[in-house]
Symmetry: D4
Subunit: 215 residues, 8 copies
């Protein structure tokens, strides 16, 4: 539940064997296990090791895998995950998988960046039904600012590394999120869909207290 | 309620006359007005302009002023605002004033930085009673990481500019917050006590829905 | 007309006596003289030296002074200068003074930042009447991105140093402008209202060729 | 026409299949489609999917492809695209392809960097015939400064990532462009030949109003 | 013993042949030779060149190789090497190999990062038995701060490049270490397990003067 | 003894009244109190509050004050504090005061920067008598590298903010220290004479175990 | 002659008394003494201490003072010091004073920045008479690049802090100089007129070997 | 002779065919041609194209090739090229090849970094025989500072990208060179052995005027 703790594995930089071994240990403690930032090779080895007995949910784009049955989604308004472009989709899908693993319902709205404002405004009613919103945006990441002026819900901004040149691997987007003039916005690390989702799940669980607790 | 909107004034860089004029306009729309980042001169001029008719709440350390009656605090668990050192106090008090102006109860726990772990652990029971926690920390800002490993509530991390040398005016603390290995943490701009409090108030209002609406 | 050439003086870092001396030399060559980034003291000394004979246009907020009659404004659609907040006004007014000195009509729309989208949309018809638009925005500078999705005219983005903490004196706003996902946007230096206006005047003169040439 | 909108595809980071699918959608709306930053593989798949029916213009150096007939070039002075070195050519050619797709005439002048001033001065008459000039330069990017002192037309500066060491992937060139002491210069992102060309096409269309509208 | 001196080779960027040649020269001077940052290829060639006659200690994870018999470990309290996560292990193992080569006893405690405080506290008694402690931590590197509040021994902090996004290849961890609010901490370069160990060995030798001198 | 703990006060950013109050509290717990980074005003108020009863040691250059009798210096080799230039003296003297307050003998060698190598070599015998050395150097901070090649003792490098231009307030010196090619060097924050001295005192106490314990 | 050695004093950060004392010591060793970066107060105190007996050369703009007779200028071609703007003059004059103190003839050409190329070309014959050239330029510092394409002599580039916004206190100019595409250019620190002049004097002395040696 | 001019080719980023074509053009103008930063493939193709008729000098480590007979070395003291470590050798050898191509004698002294001061001092007599010295150093690049205190000749400092972590690809070394406290030092770009050598050749030609002119 925490960094270094049991149910989540940050697979980046680990060998496939290490990932399988950690999944095994965690599965023995019960509960489903979420692995993020998986390579194809890691996914393949986890599939062959656990595919026989356990339910596996693999999202190749998100590079996530869930081993074992995730909790049934809480009876709550969905966490709303909104992206500026299609290139931001992998990060958004990492957030989505995390919500699944944490038992919170979530919904994804893609490609409503501020340069096409009508598309964003066209989805506003849907967005407003959520208690908490995650924005996923690279380049100049203007989406959380505009969103902050349109809705009342707390917003978690994920800057992405989508961009080039003076984007400096996501720095430009990160600074935009941190300096957003609208209020009700807090920011997580560049490309950190997982972290945004954990924060959102905790808030959603507070807003819908009869649901399972977002650990 | 939003950037450029009515009820909050970011006084930095404005003349005292401008601040008075904006307060007047906003007061005519009803509701209390919060001004942040006020100079002594701005506070004095606001006091002489409104002190006759309106209730005034001035926090000299926070450099905030609230003109008019703030909403009665919601019947909710308090937002918990925790600082690492005493030098972080002005930022924490800006957050506190903001909670007052937004009608959410709040409580302040000061000087429980991680280098004196026993003091932090000694206050843990109190902290755990809150639905949302704000950490305020400069230097290496290890507080949100440690806190994230100890509590279940969502944490809003405010890095402060308290430090010197390679602190680079708060950059070191900001990067620490963004890279915290614990989950359930989101970050606002350096020294942005106001922004953290708005986020916290929105979450607290979700967690205690029978209270007045945050924002 | 160029850096180091005659008709414009960048007063920053010069003594009042130097400014007066340069204005005198330039006035002898004929034409009006624009001085930017003037201190109160520089303005006062220019006023006492030239106020007897020459028309003087002083904008204290913009910190500009025009000595001598500027050209009559061209018979053209105005350059449209749009700011996100009121704190961006000095930079916008420097741009306005520059348009005056260069003989291009200009109009100013203030405080239509993206966190209050309705205000921006409410001014869109006016903005669309211009052939070229200057956006002036600090903090996360989302204005040029949103504007770029709404209009066809070329946009010149001026990032401002309005902000704090991770704004890094305008860097956050600058990176936002450079990484704007909308197209038809080019950027000038932080707080460079003058440079944006010269670019805009050149474009406006091209769009309205029967007018005096924007040098 | 906008970020994420129809007629232009930023191919970087997309699979060949995605590029083909987006081209197909856009072609159905009519008009030609420009794809930038294409890999060889993307180009090959687009060629085999559309080469039978549509005209294809591929520029391997620019990494661009235009599917369908671009508009006939406007009867206007050409946009002038000037490079400092031969290594800047791919970026300049991306600008050129963009002008083609947007129906504005353009001309390319290569390798006239400021260290060989005579070559630049030898092409000055040609350059002065254009209403708008794009400079493409890496290393210390002195070209826009020198150009700004020689011509009256608005200049769009594209810094390139050509350089090494303290060039920091184009940062040195970007800062040079932004700090150019000559006026009449605005800057786009590092290596952003596309963005410079869209800006130039909009200006050229204003200068030659009887032509087809840029974008 | 120093940079450019005999007994240690920094293998990064050297050809396998160069590494073998330098090992040969150093071996002729007597004493064991430590090579750090070795590639698999370098290790293989060193093994085939020296494996017949010399004892070889290879640590594939640490990417180190010791050729020849290291000194018997001193009769002293071990240098304690503590990591925040498992991904920090290669750096910690480089430190461990260095202690071996320098004849100081060392012990490794892994994965006791601050987000799981109980695990760190559970190992505190062991840690307190050492005269000098090395912390190895990436991400926000809060470990040395917390450690500094818990023990009296001098602490050498090694920030690691483990992290992503705004971690900027270890910069975030480095700044954390340098700005740690606890005292008794000094810092070495990112991922520099070797340098930390040399410093620690010198201190340990001072604390246990009857042992062989840590060169 | 730790951050936020009793015996040391970091006076920067505190009011004189706050400093006096904290000194009072700490004095009541017994032991001497060290305050660093004091303004003249803070020193004056501490002097008038405690000068009647307590011994006061004020170092105006170091901006330190010790209230109460410091421990008698341990019977040990002195900590050796070496500066590159005279401008580094305030930082070196902060280190010296700290050693006094911690009861470790110390000695100061000034202005032996590497551009005058003979002066450094002339003091080498003295330096070699110490068990631990602190180097204090700004500009390019080459001193720890050269020192590291000359002595066997552990070296604590303090980069200072002495320099200008591309020194970036001490960054150049800090990076030099962290990248020193000699081994046996660890680094503290820019201008952190206090932190270096605490580390040195802990090491010196280990090397001379019959002395009072550092901190 | 070296850093920390006798004949030159870097006065920045020293008290007037310290400057007088160091001048006195150095004068006793014979030869003239150059002090750079002097405040008015330092100059005044040096004047009252030495003005009775010694020749004094004060340059208020350069903030330099030479106490005692400088060597007669060598019979050599002058070092040529060229500035881009008038704001670069203080740095250029520091270089000039240094040449005087080192006994090398020098000449100053001001305000020939590249945005007014004709002025630079108009002075080229004069410039070409020198064996070594110093360029002093802020903003985008294009001057050394252009100069490098026009002359054969070695060029020492001094970037200055003249600029604002993304100039970042001289960083933009520094990077320009370091990345200049012309060859035969080397760079010194931002605003370091002194360092450039020492380098130039050494070269000039080599080129005119019958002159006094530029130490 | 200049950037973009004839006799030197910067091969990085060019196809082998382009390199061959440019060499051919330049050879037709007479004189030898130097290509730097060549890949193995480029070298091979140049060899097969010109190896039949022209003398070829290939330095695989330096990645340089000289086509045609270089000028006979001038009858002058050699340019002295000194490296701190063996990893700096490729950059030093690029400088050496450049000297060959420019007809100036040069000599190479390797691995005399400041951590082994005796080796540097042991070569000092040789170094002092040169009129101009190039230092090539990575990591903390303390070599030019120490050298500047030992010799009278002008020094050209080449920082290299040899290092890791907070070296930031050569930035640490670059800042060290620029902030060197010794005088008589000027700096070129990171890894720019070519640029340092051109500067040194120009100085050496001035110092030995009867030699062929270093263009
Ligand atoms: N201390 C603060 N830090 C950041 N933003 C603030 C602060 N105080 C107020 N604000 C924001 O600034 C807006 C007002 O800006 P302005 O229109 O310039 O007065 C408010 O609506 C808030 O969103
Ligand atoms: N992993 C490492 N990180 C930093 N420095 C190292 C490392 N391993 C060896 N060294 C240093 O590099 C020197 C050898 O460098 P070289 O002469 O290039 O082989 C050794 O004497 C050590 O001081
Ligand atoms: N000059 C200094 N630089 C860095 N840290 C210091 C300095 N002086 C004191 N400290 C630390 O700051 C703590 C006191 O902080 P405070 O509680 O704000 O007074 C002390 O316990 C020291 O660890
Ligand atoms: N290794 C190098 N580093 C920096 N500049 C170089 C290098 N080699 C060649 N040059 C410069 O690049 C110019 C040739 O560039 P190009 O026209 O692109 O071939 C030459 O005239 C040199 O001034
Ligand atoms: Mg762990
Ligand atoms: Mg506003
Ligand atoms: Mg000028
Ligand atoms: Mg899109
Ligand atoms: Mg070596
Ligand atoms: Mg405290
Ligand atoms: Mg000195
Ligand atoms: Mg060229």
């Amino acid at each position: 539940r925490r960094c270094g703790a049991a149910e989540v594995i940050f697979a980046e930089g680990k060998t496939p064997e290490q990932v399988v071994a950690i999944v095994r240990t965690l599965r023995e403690q019960g509960g489903c296990v979420l692995a993020t930032r998986c390579t194809d090779e890691q996914v393949a080895m986890v599939q062959s090791a656990f595919g026989g007995n356990d339910q596996l949910l693999v999202d190749a784009l998100a590079r996530t895998i869930i081993v074992g049955d995730p909790p049934a989604p809480a009876d709550a308004a969905p966490v709303c995950i909104v992206t500026a472009g299609t290139s931001d989709l992998p990060v958004a899908r990492e957030a989505l998988s995390t919500c699944v693993a944490y038992g919170q319902p979530a919904e994804l709205i893609v490609d409503v960046g501020v340069a096409g404002l009508h598309r964003l405004l066209g989805r506003l009613d849907t967005i407003k039904r959520s208690s908490v919103v995650i924005t996923v945006a690279g380049m100049e990441a203007a989406l959380p600012s505009v969103m902050g002026g349109l809705i009342e819900a707390p917003i978690i901004a994920v800057p992405t590394s989508v961009g080039y040149g003076s984007h400096f691997e996501g720095l430009a987007a990160l600074l935009s999120c941190l300096n957003a003039c609208a209020s009700g916005i807090a920011t997580v690390n560049i490309d950190n869909g997982f972290g945004a989702a954990v924060m959102a799940c905790r808030i959603n669980a507070l807003a819908h207290p009869n649901t399972v607790e977002a650990s």
